[in-house]
């Protein structure tokens, strides 16, 4: 058993949306269905100002609010720490979307079912790809995917080196770590 997570280095993020469209294409999503959303933060006053782009997607929380509120068990914690959606159980009540503090779940406008980042490289509901589409697509290598429990993994080393932390602290024991 592994405990998979991702590191996103916002210092390397140029806000180009390539991860979003790559994810949509490689995972065959609808044009209005995106697993990654972006927030932008300006710091400072003209002309001494900087901007930070922050991509957000399913944090695969250990305390996943989506899974606790899902009445049918469609949203659940799968193996290897990957939060999954069993579409065959989803009734589309959208309760998980309301419960997710990160607002990263999306409703498929054709089926009415809810979906979100699957950590597509390993999700048991997909065939799996060599690497998560967003990690592969990122032009600047801002994303690292790997096993948080393996202290030798690239992600573990990078978290140790950079002091990366989940975006909202201990809120849900999220497994996406941010360098900011």
């Amino acid at each position: 058993m592994a405990r998979y997570g991702m590191l996103i280095n916002t210092k390397k993020c140029i806000g180009c949306y390539a991860c979003r469209t790559a994810c949509q294409r490689q995972n065959d999503l609808l044009p209005d269905e995106s697993f990654i959303r972006f927030e932008e933060r300006e710091v400072g006053k003209y002309p001494n100002v900087t901007v930070e782009h922050i991509p957000l997607q399913c944090m695969h929380c250990e305390d996943a609010p989506c899974a606790s509120v899902c009445p049918t068990g469609a949203a659940h914690m799968g193996s290897d720490g990957i939060v999954e959606v069993d579409h065959g159980r989803c009734i589309g009540c959208l309760y998980c979307m309301a419960a997710c503090p990160y607002q990263v779940r999306t409703r498929n406008s054709k089926t009415g079912e809810v979906d979100k980042c699957r950590f597509c490289t390993l999700s048991s509901y997909e065939n799996g790809t060599k690497m998560c589409s967003c990690v592969d697509a990122c032009l600047t290598g801002a994303r690292i995917f790997g096993d948080l429990d393996d202290s030798d993994s690239e992600i573990s080393k990078e978290i140790a080196r950079t002091g990366a932390a989940p975006i909202a602290g201990d809120l849900t024991r999220a497994k996406i770590y941010y360098v900011r």
Binding site: V69, G73, I91, A99, T111
Partner: protein, 299 residues
């Protein structure tokens, strides 16, 4: 990202009708023990309760598009007892069954066992509280994520339930309508309590560490939803009923209060409560803005 509300008017209707149903049942129980002669008013409450809840549930199922397309999935609703919604389903299911049995017994002119009324009352109140808890557990929305919300929804549920019973009663059982003074006086205070609760909710939300709290409150009191909030919720839903009932219950002469004109004024007040009750759900569902997670809001 431009935030679009997750739920819309259909869910607001559902929350409103579920609360109203629970409140109407509670009203019937109140009538039974405080005004035992008012059999027709009692029946109104027992009639309204299951019907509106069933309508609400139909709306809910319609809104859940994936379940609507695959109805068998609704059978899975009882799998996660950690979910408020699952508990809601339990409360709603028990409540609808009890309310229907009570209704059938009433229509067959048979005595309703006290324990059954008690079960229905508890379930009805649970349904009302549940509608608030449903939103309340959502941590991302400061306007929802407050222990005040279930209480507010409970008060509003009882208020709208009684208002619905009284409104129908004015036309269906005008004599009994004049009899239930104690209930009316009880009902008078509910919008007042609601007002206090809403004010408290808005204050607490506005001071949430995330700007989303302030934004939600502003969109209600001075933004996109301001007209609906002040006119339809505060004036029509709270102030108007309070003034009218104050006039009828304490200022007006008994003859006027029980005259047809007086009854119509009370009916107007009850209609206002219903409008306000729906607006409350719609506004709370629609105006909630999620926290901006990238701001260091909680650290």
């Amino acid at each position: 990202m431009i935030y679009e509300p997750i739920w819309g008017a259909i869910i607001a209707w559902y929350l409103f009708l579920a609360g109203l149903g629970g409140g109407a049942f509670a009203t019937a129980v109140f009538v039974r023990y405080r005004h035992p002669d008012c059999k027709r008013l009692m029946r109104v409450g027992r009639l309204i309760a299951p019907i509106v809840v069933i309508i609400g549930l139909c709306l809910l199922m319609f809104d859940a598009a994936a379940g609507f397309a695959h109805p068998l999935r609704f059978a899975l609703l009882l799998t996660n007892f950690g979910s408020v919604m699952t508990w809601g389903v339990v409360f709603l299911a028990v409540f609808v069954v009890v309310a229907l049995i009570v209704l059938v017994l009433d229509l067959m002119k048979r005595e309703v066992p006290m324990w059954l009324d008690c079960v229905g009352l508890v379930m009805g109140l649970c349904v009302a509280i549940y509608t608030g808890c449903l939103l309340g557990v959502c941590q991302g929305f400061p306007l929802w994520n407050s222990a005040l919300l279930p209480i507010l929804f409970l008060v509003s549920a009882v208020s709208t339930g009684m208002a619905a019973v009284l409104l129908v009663g004015v036309f269906y059982a005008p004599d009994e309508f004049n009899e239930v003074v104690v209930m009316k006086k009880f009902h008078f205070w509910l919008p007042v309590i609601e007002f206090v609760l809403v004010a408290a909710l808005l204050f607490i939300t506005a001071f949430n560490p995330s700007p989303a709290g302030w934004e939600s409150v502003m969109s209600l009191v001075a933004g996109n939803w301001a007209v609906a909030f002040w006119l339809l919720f505060v004036i029509v839903g709270l102030v108007l009923p309070t003034i009218l009932e104050c006039w009828m219950l304490w200022l007006a002469k008994h003859e006027f209060e029980t005259s047809r004109t007086g009854q119509m004024i009370s009916a107007l007040s009850d209609a206002g409560v219903l409008v306000g009750g729906f607006m409350l759900r719609l506004l709370i569902v629609s105006a909630a803005v999620p926290i901006t997670i990238v701001q260091p809001w909680m650290l």
